[in-house]
Assembly symmetry: C2
Homo-oligomer: 281 residues x 2
């Protein structure tokens, strides 16, 4: 009776995570202002003025480094304003018995704690999956709070990122509720590829996949073992190839067919105005 397969007898997992969280974040010296992926993502949807680009570059001079496993923000707390420059983080919720569900991932160009009106999504636990380089975006937040015409591009870009995140959450619900393990995995990989491409992190059909299978399975609502077998199967079917933190899509067409994938990335009109995603912040 009662609780059917409550899953994952993983007290171990819990303690490991707790230990990771204990490590304090490091602060690093300034770095040369590379043309960061963050800027690429932001300007992918809404065109940024040269002023705005300069502003972002300037922000990026003062980086902060968050080790893998550290928590950006705990559940229920408003996250400090940060813009991710590189690395990957996830939004998640844990159940009391150790089960975990990941809502989505954050990458370069994504912001947390920036919304003027907080969403519930901004108030769940957010954890760095890899080491994350980010910058304090409090200034950005205040700039955006001023609703004058300046920085309209930045405002649009950040609003688009928020909207895209929410759109992905809807896809996530469909995946979890109505798709099989193969479909979920295929769909997720295509979505991931899309994001990496926009950020300029992808190389043709190859893109980085820093997530362990444990993390991946907690996102896709599968067990580690079954996710592994699903990936193995897709390799054997010559759909994908994985090595050393990279994934290569061998047959994108078939993969899309399997899971009925259609990108949620906003299509940009000929005049440079985004059709569906860009709105006020």
């Amino acid at each position: 009776m009662g609780v059917p397969y409550a899953g994952y007898s993983e007290a171990a997992r819990q303690s490991i995570r707790a230990e990771r969280l204990a490590r304090p974040p490091l602060r690093r010296p300034q770095r040369p202002p590379a043309d960061v992926a963050a800027l690429k993502v932001l300007s992918a949807v809404a065109p940024l003025s040269e002023d705005e680009r300069a502003l972002v570059r300037k922000l990026c001079l003062y980086r902060e480094s968050i080790p893998a496993g550290a928590e950006f923000a705990r559940e229920g707390e408003a996250a400090p304003a940060r813009l991710i420059v590189s690395g990957w983080a996830c939004r998640q919720q844990s159940l009391p018995d150790g089960r975990r569900q990941i809502f989505g991932f954050l990458m370069a160009g994504d912001a947390i704690g920036l919304g003027l009106r907080p969403r519930p999504l901004d108030e769940v636990s957010t954890v760095a999956v890899t080491r994350v380089e980010c910058v304090d975006a409090l200034m950005l937040r205040e700039i955006l709070a001023v609703q004058d015409g300046r920085h309209a591009g930045l405002r649009n870009a950040l609003a688009a990122a928020r909207r895209y995140e929410e759109a992905c959450l809807l896809d996530h619900v469909v995946r979890l509720g109505r798709q099989s393990a193969h479909e979920r995995t295929a769909h997720f990989l295509l979505e991931w590829r899309q994001r990496c491409r926009v950020a300029g992190l992808a190389d043709a059909e190859r893109f980085p996949m820093p997530l362990t299978q444990e993390v991946l399975s907690d996102a896709l609502g599968l067990s580690i073992v079954h996710l592994n077998r699903t990936l193995q199967h897709m390799k054997r079917e010559r759909l994908i190839e994985m090595k050393r933190g990279w994934v290569e899509i061998l047959d994108a067409y078939r993969l899309k067919f399997i899971c009925d994938y259609q990108s949620r990335w906003p299509t940009v009109g000929g005049d440079g105005s985004s059709v569906s995603l860009v709105r006020e912040f």
Copy 2:
């Protein structure tokens, strides 16, 4: 190979739905201004001034009736501004093979097409599950667009409703990704009860459940058959009782224990200010 259990060989379902959508919405004569559930829901979080209450009541004089199965708004289109007075609707997405995932439900007091900044959630297909009475809320939308101090209560209430809907969506993800059929069902019923109570539709432990098991299963990511067996099991366990469109919770404590339920409804501080959900619209 390829698509594992693609599920539900239900071409029938599709055609039935298509037929329902064909029926045009009816327009009914005015009705006496009952103290509608909508008003109850809106004032549950943010206190409304007498002016605001009068405004809502006035809006409610001109009702529109939408038959069960009709679509408020198609996918990708912005929905017309409406405030639901009674009845139930759902946000959903269909897969090409007929599978369907329901994102959530709308009840009295919920608004569609009212957001000044559209969310992806507002752009999915929205369908009336039962007959829905609603009112044109275009006026409301314009009133809210004026960011002066007046109608701050209404703005807060509607913003809270939006936030609550998003919070429920997160719970939905956890249910679908990491909970068993029993847990999902228990959790959903408790959430539903909570909403009915706030709306004043519940009677102690009894509350209306107008959803068919088909609809319920499409929300919970289960097959109809398995949902049925799950409900049967919960009845046999003396957890719930169901008859004629009503559910009675027999053992709320045990039900909460099963699924680790905790309400996302905003707790209201002693001074009447909502702690977490009320923000600007």
